[in-house]
Symmetry: C2
């Protein structure tokens, strides 16, 4: 190679390096402008909250389309049940391989639902969402449900808690979950501390398949994370593989496939949990397991606005399942971020901005009456209905829901909790 050619080559290389650096910088800038969504932190760039279209793209999920909703409506209707308004109204908005579950159902093949909770305090309304939808699916599909209580996770992430404190939250939260109405013959609720031994073979299998680099990228871990946190994703991943529950699924027909063990799993969850299950889907085939299917919910916003979600550590951001009617009233009147006009005149002229209004967002979730909701959307939106009236409707709606929940929970005994938590063969039909 001549000297000239060499110089040219070097220059080309320099140019390439420069271009690469520019690209990296651009990507960095883009990441900065991007909504932050991990199981540990959620932060929207815009006042209207998370840009879900972009998130669906980033996470490689698919939107729930009309055809899918029709199919689910058909299945629900056959059981004499109206498909949950959360699917109809788009609270559950996207999915990974939901069609696989529908095909399994139509072919009479076994599958199960998996959801869970980290017991770090009292539960609020937002925490109920996945449980209510899971229960709804249990009703329409007649299938088994496993509920993981990640008491270990909460201990690993919260230095202020002792294991005993978390255990108290655990036992209380399980009563809330049971109150949602799960079928005791088809539902297994377990705590990680109690069920670790049965899970451990699969946990180490999953751990062996994931490097620190990977969790660093997917979960945003750094060198300062403790080593329990680093390994934790495996613990939340294993319940999506049916082989984790040999005893629980003892009565379920065995799969004949040689490619992967067991049967499909559908996980209803909020989109912030996606990293766990995207990781699960990435490694599933490598460890001869089936990729889990998922259906994702949008976040249930904090009373203060769409930029973040309800938090169990900030009492005023959420309506708790233990709140008294008066507390609910005061919280909503005082803290619920309104999209209404700043003055009466402004409101009558421009109407409310429904994209940022929290009372309206809550009504979309908790007001079952489709017609009343539509009336509010139109009238509040054009300014002929005021914030006070909308808030009043919300207060009444939530007071009713919370009261009913409290009454049901009061009936849940320690024996019932024990029954749900006993490892046993669930019913298959």
């Amino acid at each position: 190679m001549s000297k000239k050619e060499e110089t040219k080559k070097e220059e080309t290389k320099k140019e390439e390096t420069k271009q690469e650096e520019t690209k990296k910088e651009e990507k960095k800038e883009e990441t900065k402008k991007q909504d932050l969504v991990t199981p540990y932190e959620i932060k929207a760039v815009s006042e209207t909250g998370i840009d879900y279209d972009k998130l669906v793209d980033r996470f490689g999920a698919s939107m729930i389309n009309e055809e899918m909703i029709e199919k689910l409506t058909e299945i629900a209707t056959k059981k004499g049940i109206k498909l949950h308004h959360w699917i109809r109204r788009g609270l559950y908005f996207c999915h990974h391989d939901l069609h696989r579950i529908i095909i399994d159902y139509e072919q009479g093949k076994p599958f199960f639902l998996y959801t869970g909770r980290g017991p770090s305090g009292q539960m609020h309304l937002g925490h109920l969402v996945s449980f209510i939808l899971t229960k709804h699916f249990q009703d329409i599909f007649g299938c088994a449900v496993v509920v993981q209580m990640t008491d270990d996770e909460k201990y690993l992430w919260n230095r202020k808690f002792t294991q005993l404190q978390i255990h108290k939250f655990l036992m209380d939260n399980i009563k809330d979950i049971i109150s949602v109405g799960f079928d005791p013959e088809k539902t297994f609720i377990f705590s990680d501390y109690q069920y670790i031994k049965e899970m451990y073979p699969n946990i180490t299998k999953v751990q062996r398949a994931i490097t620190f680099s990977q969790v660093k990228g997917t979960f945003g871990f750094t060198n300062s994370n403790n080593i329990g946190q680093v390994a934790f994703p495996a613990i939340q991943i294993v319940p999506c593989f049916s082989s984790t529950f040999p005893k629980i699924f003892e009565n379920f027909p065995k799969s004949k496939s040689k490619k992967s063990r067991g049967f499909n799993c559908l996980i209803p969850c909020a989109i912030d949990q996606a990293p766990y299950f995207r990781q699960a889907r990435e490694i599933a085939y490598r460890i001869k397991e089936k990729k889990p299917s998922l259906i994702y919910a949008k976040f249930f916003p904090a009373l203060q606005g769409h930029k973040t979600k309800m938090s169990s550590s900030k009492q005023t951001t959420a309506i708790y399942l233990t709140d008294k009617p008066n507390q609910i009233k005061n919280k909503i009147n005082k803290h619920a971020f309104s999209g209404g006009g700043r003055t009466k005149e402004e409101h009558e002229k421009f109407g409310a901005d429904l994209t940022v209004d929290v009372p309206y967002a809550y009504l979309k979730v908790f007001l079952e009456d489709d017609e009343l909701l539509e009336e509010i959307r139109v009238k509040y939106g054009n300014g002929t209905m005021g914030t006070v009236q909308v808030k009043r409707t919300l207060i009444e709606t939530l007071q009713k829901i919370v009261k009913k929940h409290q009454e049901t929970k009061a009936q849940v005994t320690d024996e019932t909790v024990k029954l749900f938590m006993t490892p046993r063969a669930l019913k298959f039909d």
Copy 2:
């Protein structure tokens, strides 16, 4: 500040940065020249093997001194037992807080011994060392022993193994360990897969106290390690805290100290396991546990020489507990690295170099007869005894030991294994 001053300041800063870099470079160089000793890799710089003096310094341990040996001899003698030649001859050469155990013993306070093994294949003679010494201590102190079998570790570190294969090694290895002669009323042997539930509260406690940065430094982990490996140190650490065994130590007197729970633990192990327990000692007080005491052995060298230790993956580097008399003979004759002269003349003139000679090193470990060993040291060292004779003595010694081991192991039934592995209250007296 004047321009001149500024320039001067800048120069000083540059100079400092330069000095720092030089220091870093020097440190790097030093690290390169340093023996590598982690639980995953051992590599000596010199032909004579690991520089143990330097290692003791680096690990902040203390040499076992004459006074300590006298004390131990006194305790052993009272029980009618001769103190093990491994302590007298310096195979076990350094310790952390061994005196605490001696004080506990003299004051009649409870303490226990902890040792273990990762079942990744058949056991060789080197693997027996910690078990034999632990059994010796059980004899002289009359105390309880817990043996951890890290089947999970071996699975996490060896992609070629299934859990079933490791389970087979586990059950076989436990028979080898029982053959050493542990007291069934005072010994609990457990596998991580089987005992994980009982350990898990303490595991998460330890995990919460250790960051990825720390294990990166202590164990040489990188971003490519799998997340199970990253979290594993906690699992090997917890058995050194007596609170991990509430049922096992049920009959032991409770400690009244408020500062830390439970009672002391002594861990006999090879020095490559030190990183685990140095980490344990570092965090013990933070989680209100007692710092474990340790007694460390030098490595048992590979037949090929002192630069590395015996390996279960390389058949010719070690004498296996399953080897037949002929295999032992052939391996030693063929592979045992000799420090003898290259020719008969040279040998008679200069004698053997005992610092690199493997047969002599093995005899120091396995020949109990102090007088015969001394004779070999003198005569082989000055060239009046030849390599052939030394090797013959070694062959006969090892054949006898291995044969006896095989005979004992043949008597260990599955029932005996089950007995040792049953979580139960151990005897305290």
